[in-house]
């Protein structure tokens, strides 16, 4: 049984009259790569800040690593690495000096001797692909380098939970790939990853569980595999879609070029019918929903967005 790493109940945040987050019940389990999906301004960042004790909830409760937040932040946060809304660093110092400072901060203080600390910093820099940085101050860094540095800082304490808000912002495709591989590798090592993003593809490629936030409300939360479950229809591609369609009659619920979407109880029977009728079947597979479709269906009333998405 996996224990919950993040659990919130009725988490709500109001800024004046605006309700930024409204009754969110998150459930992130150990070992998850949790995709927290939502458009810009949907309340993702505010939720993340509440989980980290930066923003105090108006109502509701949050538990991280089994402890209520923000009351137990002193015990919880040392086991959490985070990247919130872009990296932050002391501009006039080098990246390495920044890590030294952050490493020394916190109630626990710097763990280990000077050499241990230097080695740890070297390791995280290596991990995020900044092994070769020099003494240049951070203000000379590109956005991508800053992002990597922020990630390095999040990894300093070998966290059990990584909370990452838009971690691939500003990275080139190669960089995005590297970071994705890094996160997956960490996850294989037992780190739970909470990834907040507005990029569907990013979530779809990495995550095992997905939560969708729409205007402050959590409209969907499930395993990605379940969400992308079969629709009960079968996708058929034949050399003669016209004939196949007339053969199957009412069972065909949709047609897209060579592709037919067929409602069939048994794909084996369907295959035989087509083959016996002389159709060469090149593909026959159960239809699965894309994450995009799921999200769009869940995000009610977002008509304009649908047009742009398809």
């Amino acid at each position: 049984m996996t224990e919950p790493v993040i659990r919130t109940a009725g988490l709500t945040k109001r800024f004046g009259r605006v309700t930024a987050v409204d009754g969110v019940d998150l459930d992130v389990r150990e070992g998850d790569v949790y995709g927290f999906l939502g458009a810009n301004g949907s309340g993702k960042t505010t939720t993340v800040r509440m989980l980290l004790g930066l923003v105090l909830a108006t109502r509701g409760e949050a538990e991280v690593l089994g402890r209520p937040m923000p009351r137990h932040r002193q015990e919880v946060l040392p086991q959490v690495g985070a990247l919130v809304e872009g990296p932050g660093a002391y501009e006039s110092m080098s990246g390495r000096a920044n890590l030294r400072l952050f490493d020394a901060m916190g109630s626990a203080g710097p763990a280990g001797g000077r050499r241990t600390r230097e080695r740890r910093i070297g390791e995280v820099l290596e991990r995020v692909g900044l092994g070769g940085i020099d003494r240049r101050p951070v203000k000379a860094y590109s956005l991508g380098m800053r992002q990597r540095l922020g990630l390095a800082s999040a990894l300093l304490r070998s966290p059990r939970l990584l909370v990452l808000d838009e971690p691939t912002n500003g990275l080139d495709p190669q960089g995005i790939h590297e970071i994705r591989e890094l996160l997956l590798e960490l996850n294989r090592g037992g780190v739970t990853v909470f990834l907040s993003s507005h990029l569907l593809a990013e979530i779809e490629q990495m995550c095992t569980r997905v939560g969708v936030l729409d205007r402050g409300r959590l409209v969907l939360q499930d395993d990605l595999a379940a969400l992308q479950g079969p629709t009960g229809r079968t996708e058929v591609v034949t050399d003669d879609p016209g004939r196949a369609a007339s053969l199957l009659g009412d069972a065909v619920e949709g047609r897209d070029g060579d592709r037919l979407l067929v409602r069939a109880d048994d794909t084996g029977t369907l295959n035989r019918r087509l083959v016996e009728a002389g159709c060469r079947v090149t593909l026959l597979a159960p239809e699965r929903r894309t994450l995009e479709q799921v999200v769009l269906a869940a995000s009610a009333g977002a008509g304009d967005r649908r047009e742009r998405a398809s």
Partner: protein, 271 residues
Amino acid sequence: MIRVELRKLLCSRRTWVTIALIDALPVLVAVLLAVTGVGPRPGTGPAFLSAVLTDGTLYPLAALAMVVPLFLPVAVAVTAGEAVAGEGQAGTLRYVLIRPVGRTRLLVAKLVAVVVFALLAVVVVAATAYVVGVLLLGQQDVTTGTATFSGTSLTTPELVLRTLMSLAYAMLCMLGVAAIALFCSTLVDTPLAAALGAIAVLIASTLLLTLDAASALHPWLITRYWLAFTDLFRDPIFWRDILRGIGLQLLYVAVFLGAAWANFTTKDVTR
């Protein structure tokens, strides 16, 4: 956390540039005095300045009297105003807080760092003033010995002790400004606004002190006892204003650090 803040303070080039700028005024004045040999008329100008032409070892005190009313508090206000608002603006505040660094602990560390900054500035000013004073200005052994305001002789160890006490007092006087600027820093988003808020309090205080109608307020104004370190050079030492000055600064620290704590520990960090 205090160690981290101190490291940041000492490694920052801005710290040293600011101190150098504060230091420039007394050095300039010393050069002008040495070149022209014209001191202020007795009874005018900052304390000790008319005496340094005959006794250069008093120059650290004259320098202190020059920088305490304006230069030093402005520098302290700017440094303390940076504390929370500056971290917020640089985007580092959220990362500091999730290290995690307790918010109260962060405030205290910031205050300590600002006080160390004031101490550093005071010590650097006094040290350079001593060197400049001895090199350029009067030598005490040619004319009169070092005397207190009351006309008693001061031995060198006594002079050193009282000078050190003056430095400590001047540094202590910056506590109130630091606390106000720190509070402003938790209140507003930009370090500039925080520093200006604290400087506005200083200006108001200085202004009210010149106004007889506000005399009921005078004992509570933050700048009221700032120059009381000169009372250390009376004989017997006149403790009244010094003790009140210390008490008042501690009161300001208690109130404004308390306010900063109440505000910051319950504030949503959205930057």
